[in-house]
């Protein structure tokens, strides 16, 4: 059985202030759902920096190698053609395609990594806790272990000025 408490704020500054209080009481906030990226929220939740940049770099490197390698292979191995006496292995003229391939691979690998790591995608089934979190609400989600624990959390959230505190049970 999965139990958690949700509560919301109407303003991101109240949210950040409330979050500080809640954390000071030693309560772990599982997630915060917001209508736009709130600055300082990732720090307040203790999130590490995203590693997506590494995926982009790796993707770009693979794209560049494929782009350059393929052109080099075509013009020196597969079917060397003489274009006006120019060299077969013409590095400068391979650069534009290599660059475009690097950008293409970097962008797409990162976008796919983004969708996969967030577990979102076309037709993804996700839980929408509150339809107003994409409008004007900043929703907190706190995981609950047992009944007693739930009461203390509710009290802390109430003290921190959160609204609409609700306990949700899911099987």
């Amino acid at each position: 059985m999965n139990k958690y408490i949700t509560a919301y704020y109407d303003d991101e500054e109240d949210l950040l202030r409330g979050l500080k209080q809640i954390k000071a009481k030693g309560i772990e906030v599982a997630d915060v759902l917001t209508p736009f990226p709130v600055h300082g929220l990732d720090k307040a939740l203790g999130m590490s920096r995203s590693k997506l940049t590494r995926v982009a770099f790796a993707g770009g490197a693979v794209g560049a190698i494929i782009g350059f390698g393929f052109q080099a292979w075509v013009f020196t191995q597969a079917y060397p053609l003489n274009f006006g006496g120019k060299p077969f292995f013409a590095v400068p003229s391979f650069i534009p395609v290599t660059f475009e391939m690097a950008v293409l691979f970097a962008a797409f690998s990162m976008v796919f990594a983004f969708l996969i790591s967030n577990k979102i995608g076309p037709g993804a089934k996700t839980v929408i806790h509150d339809e107003r979190i994409t409008d004007d609400r900043f929703l907190l989600v706190v995981n609950v272990q047992d009944e007693e624990n739930a009461h203390t959390i509710e009290a802390v959230l109430n003290d921190a000025g959160a609204h609409g505190i609700t306990l949700i049970k899911k099987n």
Partner: protein, 456 residues
């Protein structure tokens, strides 16, 4: 963050978050207005004209065009370069201005990026139709085939294939990643089940989780970092189509920067043309303010001046090079049979944008709209002048000819204009025209009510 009280607010009217949502989603709800129907009828008719011209070209071949053995490229490549250039403003606004942390872009980036995508689609049509046989367009891709031949990777025309395809795909994902949270908003505000299901599918199940937002910001930043050099590379490669040839007037090293700034110049003009009408028609004047228009006009002054200097530099270099063919090409441009086109270009691109030095003019919407149209025309003529005047009189006087477009070529151009406006009109009905989440994120620091809510 400290914001100077002298700074004009980016969003007018004291608004809260739900008001922002409501305002921006309003144009998508209900029945479209009478003007929308009028607009789409007109643009649809233009697109049909283009469909007829496409049919004529495919059925009878490009003999239906006004090309001849001297002028083998004319309106098609002119239109191609013009459309690609127009696309560049969207990427410039969403990528380069993001990297420079220009908050004013948040109100205009969504529609400018949509414009980019549509413009690239229109641009891509021209090289394909120039092949005469649209169905064999895939020949330009390097795929294993029974002829055992590969494409020529030394050719700028092939680099174009890679550049334009990459540009279209990367712009598409950049635009869509930005759209996902807003599509979530549309989903959650949808009143009927079908609409909810469609936008639920399109929003990829967006939840607004803090971790997702953090990743979303990283992705947007890196995509912007990728798109910024990409957009510069695309028009550089387009200019290589000309610059790597040996035709007088084309074979110059100034082309890449000159084409890139010309592209941004014409793109901003098209963004202005579209947005001045859109903001009025959709009641978004509080989001796309006169301040936004003024900022775009300043970009037009800069890029327009770069283009102007490039024109003069070209002339100087023609004289300084001592190459008589190069010199003749330029004298022929300014005084030959196509001098009228050259002087339209000079007037529209060099003189009209300089009017924006006057604050009265750059904050006047009617004046801005008219000048933006002038710039669009001027930039079309720039490409026409470069392409046709260089070709129609090159090295061999016995082959000198004139070029005139036929009705089929006009139809193709008008058709892409129709397609462009049709798709833009559909876009404003189907997607939020302003990035809702991004506007909300700057509302506190740059909204009208920033002064009373500020404490730091």
């Amino acid at each position: 963050m400290y914001v100077s009280p002298l700074r004009e607010p980016l969003i007018r009217g004291s608004k809260d978050y739900s008001q922002v949502t409501k305002d921006i989603l309003a144009p998508m709800a209900g029945k479209p207005s009478k003007y929308w129907y009028m607009g789409i009828t007109l643009s649809g008719a233009a697109a049909l004209f283009g469909a007829w011209a496409t049919f004529m070209t495919v059925y009878y071949g490009i003999g239906t065009w006004g090309l001849n053995k001297t002028v083998g490229w004319a309106w098609d490549i002119t239109n191609f370069v013009w459309w690609v250039g127009i696309g560049h403003a969207g990427t410039f606004i969403s990528a380069i201005l993001l990297l420079f942390r220009q908050k004013w872009r948040t109100s205009i980036n969504r529609s400018a990026e949509a414009m980019t995508l549509i413009a690239i689609a229109c641009a891509g049509f021209f090289p394909l139709i120039h092949m005469g046989r649209l169905l064999l367009g895939f020949f330009i891709l390097p795929y294993p085939n029974t002829r055992a031949l590969w494409v020529n990777f030394n050719s700028p025309l092939l680099w174009d294939v890679f550049a334009i395809t990459t540009y279209l795909l990367v712009s598409l994902v950049f635009w869509y990643i930005g759209l996902i949270p807003d599509l979530g908003t549309v989903r959650d505000k949808a009143s009927n089940k079908i609409r909810k299901a469609i936008y639920g599918f399109l929003s990829f199940g967006w939840t607004g989780s803090a971790k997702h937002w953090s990743r979303h910001e990283t992705v947007s930043l890196i995509l912007a970092g990728l798109a910024a050099p990409l957009v510069l590379s695309v028009h550089t490669i387009v200019s290589f189509d000309f610059a790597t040839s040996v035709i007088p007037g084309w074979h110059t090293t100034i082309f890449p920067p000159y084409f890139v700034s010309g592209a941004v110049f014409s793109g901003f003009a098209m963004v202005l043309t579209l947005l001045i009408v859109t903001r009025k028609a959709l009641n978004l004047e509080e989001y796309i303010t006169v301040g936004h228009i003024e900022n775009m006009n300043k970009v037009i002054i800069i890029t327009g001046s770069i283009v102007g200097i490039a024109y003069i530099t070209e002339f100087f270099m023609a004289w300084y090079s001592g190459v008589e063919y190069e010199q003749y090409a330029f004298i022929n441009r300014a005084t030959g049979p196509y001098a009228w086109a050259y002087w339209i270009m000079m007037t529209c691109n060099v003189i009209t944008p300089q009017l924006f030095w006057f604050k009265k003019i750059r904050t006047n919407l009617v004046a801005t709209f008219i000048i933006s149209i002038f710039v669009n025309i001027g930039m079309w003529f720039e490409r026409f002048v470069i392409v046709v005047t260089s070709l129609h009189r090159d090295y061999l006087p016995s082959s000198w000819v004139m070029y005139k477009p036929t009705i089929v070529e006009i139809g193709l151009y008008v058709g892409t204009l129709g397609l462009f406006f049709t798709l833009f009109l559909l876009f404003i009905r189907v997607f939020p025209v302003i990035a809702i989440a991004e506007v909300k994120s700057v509302l506190k620091s740059s909204g009208d009510n920033k002064k009373d809510s500020h404490h730091e």
